[in-house]
Subunit: 466 residues, 2 copies
């Protein structure tokens, strides 16, 4: 049986598209066909674009005329449902009445269109990005398990090879957790690198936009397309955007890899811990320098990010609380939005002070290391409906454990990537997380790509049932 | 009768000190003598330095040896009691038990010492800088009236010509209000210009350090001595420090003077309003361009600064609330610190959003103007014990009215100066306030100095009784 073309990475597709050996129209048809075949079960999409075929046809015409725009030109991609889109409604994961969003393109979607991408559909998300479960979406590796969240639809759609890239957003781990649980690459760029204008906010100072993709290279190509200053995002940085693809294929000899031995390795599932130690050995054997350290402040991070997230989310939803629309939220999200009123401004400021100290402490660490390595998530995909998991010899709340290793990079605003690094004994994907200095996505991509090239995890896909 | 030398501005004193026509020891003796003669009544000082005479003698030796350090060398100055000092205890205006402060120099005091100033005493302040009354200090123009606050002791001490400069701190107007009510110059520099390291915090994002002085020129000389980056203040800016005295004596022809006709002129005492209109005419006649505008957002500023101030103050005092030390605060301050717990993190964030919009709106205004003019305070010094004043045909809360025109420049972090511009019908001083772009203290000083040189307000001092 001929392999579906859409299951191949963007770098491959774009070479064929540019050479007129593949048509965007066929790719779009292939993606739509896979949605029809597999997504009834996975429920990773909430909306398919009426104009998907027209977008693809337009891309084909341009490419045929020699006006190739770059790697994303003619490639079908999906967008998390909290990004505003002109050609599709935006739901932000909520069914609540009285909550509506503008029908216009968010900054990232506009940039993707300018790069020639075919915006094929919107992916399911945890309501208002406030959770790690994303019901009713399922994990393509085991449909009795969660895809993670809040960008769970993007994780499932990319893992099911329906599209080679789907945008996610990440406030405490919402790109990297579904990437880890679904076995895809997920990149959270530095705070300020990618505009959030036109993305339904969760927590302004923690929200990041970034891609989930089959490969590290494709996350670099996507980052090239979506990065840059945007005056419409108050958090957007005025900083040069390098060509991130220049970091691909580079050796890691001499790179200094930091290992935070507290917090990041305190309580992980044994399979997860072993996979990460194996990845660490890969870097050592490739000539990287390993630097172990501890960061005691991480013991206090959860309270800080939770106070900031609760306050910001409740500030954003104050209109929905006042109008009564919040009554229509799902119970878990409504509870969080209402709980946010209990956090005082003084608590918020103490959380911000801790954040400042964490940033300063990390700056000291990054004087001696280039990239910090660890797991993305202490556990692999958990069964739908489970709220407690056994890690080692203790039971832990899934909600508390799942983002423990990702939220520090939101608090600090540093770039972080999750990439596949093997499977646990149940055959579920494990995520390796790397983080780097502010705006040093290049070293992140360099280190991640080197690992990916030396392993074949990216070539193993889940068996899907229709 | 010979005039007391300490009653003359720093610029004059320093010329004589440098030329060995005046001794720092005599100036210090003169200041101590005036404290003894007048401060029993005024209660503007809380502490006099044991080593004042020794500091002055050291300055005299250095100057005699030809090692003159600059305008402040050998000049007695006073320090608000929330600046840590190595040679004196710090009280921050509180008598509460269980609240103690380190015996070391704050960054500004260290810079003043490096400039050769004689740190002669600490001035009274409203408890924790949380109020505009500063009991039991009195206004030298009428000792039945308040000196304003929270730097009321600095205002009274400078107005009484005990020292030509006293440092203040300003979170919502605490330098400019006592300057206006006591008839001195008071300068709040741009947020980030002067280090707050070692100043007992009130509200980190609103606190500013700056001088009260007899003249605009002396505020420029002081600013030269205390400005510059300090890694120990997270709010400190990395930005060049010009020689602010270069702005003295410059013409104002061509300067664009902005007049915010809403808020700043909504409800001022008639004498105050007339004095400001007269100052506006001065600038027009001197060749400045007048630009009238409105800033509707100012209608919502009070709630925003109050939410930020309450949250920050309560965050700072959370240890004192937990230990019970806050029970020893005066009732008004204890109430504010306890009230701060009612402000939610969501409220705080909405206040910060308003602040951001105010900053953006002001940036647009400053595209067309160089300096914004208005009153410092809608009223002149009110009687001690009064909490309500009649302004025009309505009764207003003194606490709400007194900082209405000053707090916008704290929210926006812009430089602002108050300088004397006449007297009301009761003979009480009126303050003229000017504000400028971020880090453009030069235009502020230029405009203020031009007005001061053309008027004789600075040469009129209160009649003091012993």
């Amino acid at each position: 049986m001929q392999e579906d073309p859409i299951t191949r990475p963007i770098a491959e597709l774009s070479a064929k598209l540019r050479a007129n050996k593949l048509r965007s129209a066929d790719l779009a048809e292939n993606a739509l066909d896979r949605i029809a075949r597999f997504d009834g079960k996975l429920e990773s999409f909430v909306c398919v674009a009426d104009d998907a075929r027209a977008q693809a046809a337009a891309a084909d015409r341009e490419i045929a005329e020699g006006r190739w725009r770059g790697h994303l030109h003619g490639v079908p991609v999906a967008i998390k449902d909290n990004y505003l889109t002109a050609n599709m409604p935006t739901g932000a994961g909520t069914d609540a009445r009285g909550v509506e969003f503008a029908r216009q393109d968010s900054a990232v979607v506009a940039r993707l269109r300018a790069a020639g991408a075919v915006i094929i559909g919107k992916t399911r998300m945890h309501e208002f990005a406030w959770g790690n479960v994303t019901p009713p979406a399922k994990n393509p590796w085991d449909t009795s398990r969660v895809p993670g969240g809040s960008s769970g639809g993007s994780g499932a759609a990319v893992a099911a090879r329906i599209v080679p890239m789907a945008m996610g957003s990440d406030t405490g781990g919402s790109i990297r957790i579904p990437a880890a649980l679904c076995g895809t690459v997920g990149l959270k760029p530095t705070f300020g690198r990618v505009s959030r204008a036109g993305i339904v906010p969760h927590s302004w100072s923690l929200d990041h936009a970034g891609p989930l993709s089959y490969t590290v290279a494709d996350s670099a190509h996507t980052l090239n397309a979506i990065s840059g200053h945007d005056p419409n995002d108050p958090g957007s940085a005025r900083i040069d955007v390098p060509d991130f693809s220049a970091a691909l294929g580079q050796p890691v000899a001499g790179l200094r890899i930091g290992i935070c031995r507290n917090h990041m390795f305190d309580s992980n599932q044994p399979d997860v811990g072993e996979a990460i130690e194996s990845a660490i050995r890969f870097y050592r054997d490739a000539g990287a320098h390993l630097v172990e350290f501890e960061l005691p402040i991480l013991a206090f991070g959860l309270g800080a990010i939770f106070a900031i997230e609760l306050s910001s989310s409740t500030a954003y939803h104050s209109r929905n609380l006042a109008s009564g629309a919040a009554k229509g939220f799902t119970d878990d999200v409504r509870t969080l939005v209402e709980m946010g009123r209990m956090v005082s401004g003084a608590d918020y400021l103490k959380a911000e002070q801790l954040r400042r100290t964490l940033i300063d402490d990390l700056a000291k660490v990054f004087a001696d290391v280039d990239v910090i390595i660890g797991p993305t998530c202490p556990l692999t995909a958990w069964p739908i409906g489970e709220w407690s998991v056994r890690i080692g010899d203790q039971d832990e709340s899934v909600l508390a454990a799942s983002w423990r290793l990702t939220y520090p990079w939101n608090l600090a605003g540093l770039p972080a990537i999750s990439l596949p690094c093997g499977f646990d004994s149940a055959g579920l994907p494990i995520g390796l997380q790397l983080a780097a200095r502010p705006f040093d996505e290049a070293n992140l991509i360099r280190a991640a790509d080197a690992y990916e090239r030396s392993h074949d995890w990216k070539d193993i896909s889940p068996k899907l049932s229709t």
